[in-house]
Amino acid sequence: MKDLSMHIMDIIQNSVRAEASLVELKITESMKEDLFSISIKDNGFGMSDEVLAKAIDPFFTTRTTRKVGLGLSLLKQNAEMTGGKMEISSKEGVGTELEAVFSHKHLDRPSLGDIAGTMVLLVGANPEMDFLYQHITDEGEYVFDTKEVKEVLDGMPISDPNIMQYLKEMIKENLNTILYR
């Protein structure tokens, strides 16, 4: 994966497949504490202990179209390359929670990439789902909540290309005020 936003896009596809109605993404960055953490929580159908134990095995997947499942193992490998870790917990019928922790300043930590574009694509492709994206840095905090956006749109489709473009700009503008340059 080229950047962390692609990992996020990939991991959230699992939540989509698990029929989650709400996905919460929290990114915490701190230069002071040398921390970059990505936490993804969904209320999908979760995994049994047996499946969870094998979830990070690259040669395990619940799909039938192919025999590998690389998403989680790639993210774990990336986090560990920076001296960080990835943890995942899940409960059947309740949901799944994942946290990947990276060293912020480590050379092998991929850049965040186009997180605004990633969020908007996820929202546009899954208009029936809700997404809560919280980004915290030493400079401040930004929250993008699709429930609030849908309220403002008042029945207008969130998946409309024009609306998606506006939302992407809005997220970018707000992130620019709290991200490190």
Partner: protein, 132 residues
Amino acid sequence: MAKVKSLADLKKIKEELHAKMDLREKSNDPEAQVQIKVGMATCGIASGAKEVMEFLIEATAKRGINSIVTQTGCMGYCYAEPTIEVTMPGKEPVVFGDVDLKKADEVIEKYIKQGELVDGIIPVNYKTIDNN
């Protein structure tokens, strides 16, 4: 495009958005829409499916094509990612492989607009080897 920095700004430009949308909704019969699915599993995303999907959403809207662009999981053609499945109204779906931005543009201009087949179609009778 007006700058939207907050939800309050979004509220302000709602009318403008409504007008743009009304024009499109007049031809919003799902049966008449071109359906485009982009493979967005690990293999697709790592190969550039996100950029392809963004391009397809923007390009079809700008070129006035009545379409819906959605995402799907792995179709089993990991070797040919990014893959897209295009369903023209009343026709069978066609899967294109190795779709970069240039190929996506070609699919829109030649296949969707003119009905001409372009290189990169994954045959429907292709089956992955099942070792079970």
